[in-house]
Amino acid sequence: MSTAEKRIRIAVIGNPNTGKTSLFNTLTGLRQRVGNYSGVTVEKKTGIWNMPHGQDVELIDLPGTYSLSATSLDERVAVDVIAGHEADSKAPDLVIVVVDVENLRRNLFLASQASELGVPMVIALNCWDVAEKKGLQIDSKLLQQRLGVPVIPTVAKRKSGTDELAKAVERAIETRPMMARPYWPDPVKKALTTLKDELVVKRGESLREGELQRLIFDRKSAVRERLKTPASEHEPIIKAVRDQLYKDGFQPDAAESTLRFRFLNPLLNDVLERQAALKKRSKSESIDQLLLHKFWGLLVFIGMMYVVFQSVYTWAGPLMDLIEGGVGWVQGIASDALVSMPMLQSLIADGIIGGVGAFLVFLPQILVLFFFISLLEASGYMARAAFLMDKLFQWCGLNGKSFVPLLTSFACAIPGIMATRTINDNKARLITILIAPLMSCSARLPVYLLLIGAFIEPQYGPKVAGATLFAMHFIGALVAAPFAWALNKTVNKGRKPIPFVMELPHYRVPQIKLTLHRMYESGKEFVVRAGTVIFAMTIVIWALLYFPRSAEVENEIRAKYGITNDTISVSNVGEQIIANDLEEAISKQIDAAYLEQSYMGRFGKFVQPVFAPAGYDWKITVGVLASFPAREIIISTLGITYALGGEVDEESGDLRSTLSNAKWESGPRMGEPVFNIPVALSIMVFFALCMQCGATLAVIAKELNWWWATGSFFALTSIAWIAAVLVYQIGMLF
């Protein structure tokens, strides 16, 4: 037996907003591992707790839940872990229930449910200080006596009570105290016996009493999914037991809450004492008078979202420039060092270093966003934001919690998709992730600016140009609304909706240490897990743009200019300058020719007919294809194809005038300009809707899986193509 198997395992459960995670962090320090429970997207956090007597125990931070009714994934995971049904691990040796003193009755409901699963228990009465300040006094000794398990007052934030907790836990591992359980009336006992007889005795299921209760009391218990007995067999059994309970006078859906609170209420007599001086209205309530006000609350909300959006959009900018600058600098050094080996030079400078830069550049936005998300969540404001916005999202299966991720996606879909972790309804989370890439992110801006600057502004003036830019930012959101609705009607059909009831917790002051930790975790996860995929993708695209690169291409261009060898002979300074200009022009021509001859270029010419209905020639098509890893690449690709070099940007006058003068080289429209207003609009609409971002794909794959990532890639690309064709065809009618 290895030491890991012998190690004591302790699960920590509690209602949301009880300071459970704060206590977990205090006990484990930063020695934590974050992963997923097998098969579900519920985050699994484990850590090591050094006990005073030198023993190391493994702590498991279960998701915060109000009940173990096992209707949501979080609740199911909690039941599975405590009952020992999680893959490859037995039941924990002990459960620590974190209880918020201010909501003692409700919190003990969860403890009472957990006690039915037959695991020894210690209760941590958290937020002791806040309760004392509010004039709330709790007789923890009396409570301990009545519940039959140790009850330890703690203040997780200030590490107070943790020594007492450790001592109580060490003792409890030996003495295995069990919390007092309700005395169930006869009909419930009968139901439990019948079900145990049918499932455990006759069919060999391994179910604890608490799990049998879940099957009886919860209409759609997730425990059913775990039964070995087929649904056709277990469903009638459970239904018969529930029907019998109903006949005996207990409505099964209501029985548990009613009976359990009937058991808990007398236990709390004399335990809780509110001092007479207790203010009628708490501080949180006063704050909510403003923050949930129909007018002022909305105003504050808009202001706050403006700050969040602005910071992701602009404040991360200097850091991103710094990273881009740094990457460029390293690229420069690498190219200089490898100038004698052109292929290696291109692979390392453009492929590898460029590939690393391609995902590192998103890091500042992720860190900035998670700084704010952590503050919004820890303070309790996130729930208020969701409350204010919920109505806007109800009709398409989303809820108010989708707002912050979607708003963020206007800056960048990557942090936006990562932010969907704050949505605990998986169904709403799925839809939010799938529509997030439709929000017009900042990488689309250069494309809009280039085309609007080149075609809309010269013809219609700055007002129309501004309106076009505005419209481009909203077209994605416009398409997203029916898309979300359709997704909800199809993909989510038949899935259990998660009830949207949400606590508005007391406001708390966020802890800066936890905020920094959250930023670090999200940044690390992005770099390690999404980064590798993005990196691989950029290398592949690099190869497609680089190869086959036969030397003939270069020789042909040089021959066209009448130069046979590599050097141009010069006799004076003036000739030298002309020669340099010529050399530069030639090398840009060569780059353009190489791109045309590359696999990507050939592929672009091959699929150009697909994009012909949208008005694209092969050069635009290659630009579009090369932009699939990152949409802003189109600018430099167009620069190369039009022999202006890859260093052009959206403000470049050369690029704008070259595009305006570009003519069809062949086909029925030979000699006509390639770009006109409908083509420019069609390209912009395509970029507004298409999933041209390898990093977003990698993040979707990480948050959901590759099926969803691939599916959304094809879905959004088709939508973009259809919209681009419509815009062009309709535009050409005028």
Partner: protein, 75 residues
């Protein structure tokens, strides 16, 4: 009277709950049971959802779900 019809300022008592509604089932495990006192504390700017207070909890609930709770005014 139903919970989606109550006004600010009054105090209400729960008479009956529709436990086949998942939202309400969840609220029941927090103590929203017959005889529990409840009051409306906030309405969202668009009128839905509402925030109610009972048993020391401040909960947001949508009007469509609140319709499953029968209440009577006591104050």
């Amino acid at each position: 009277m139903r919970l989606d019809q109550i006004k600010k300022g009054g105090l209400f008592r729960v008479k009956e709950v529709d436990c086949s509604n998942d939202c309400i089932a969840r609220l029941m495990s927090m103590g929203l049971l017959p005889d529990q006192e409840i009051r409306l504390i906030h309405e969202a700017p668009l009128g839905d959802p509402i925030a109610v207070e009972f048993n020391g909890c401040h909960m947001s609930i949508r009007l469509s779900d609140a319709a499953g709770v029968e209440v009577e005014q006591i104050q």
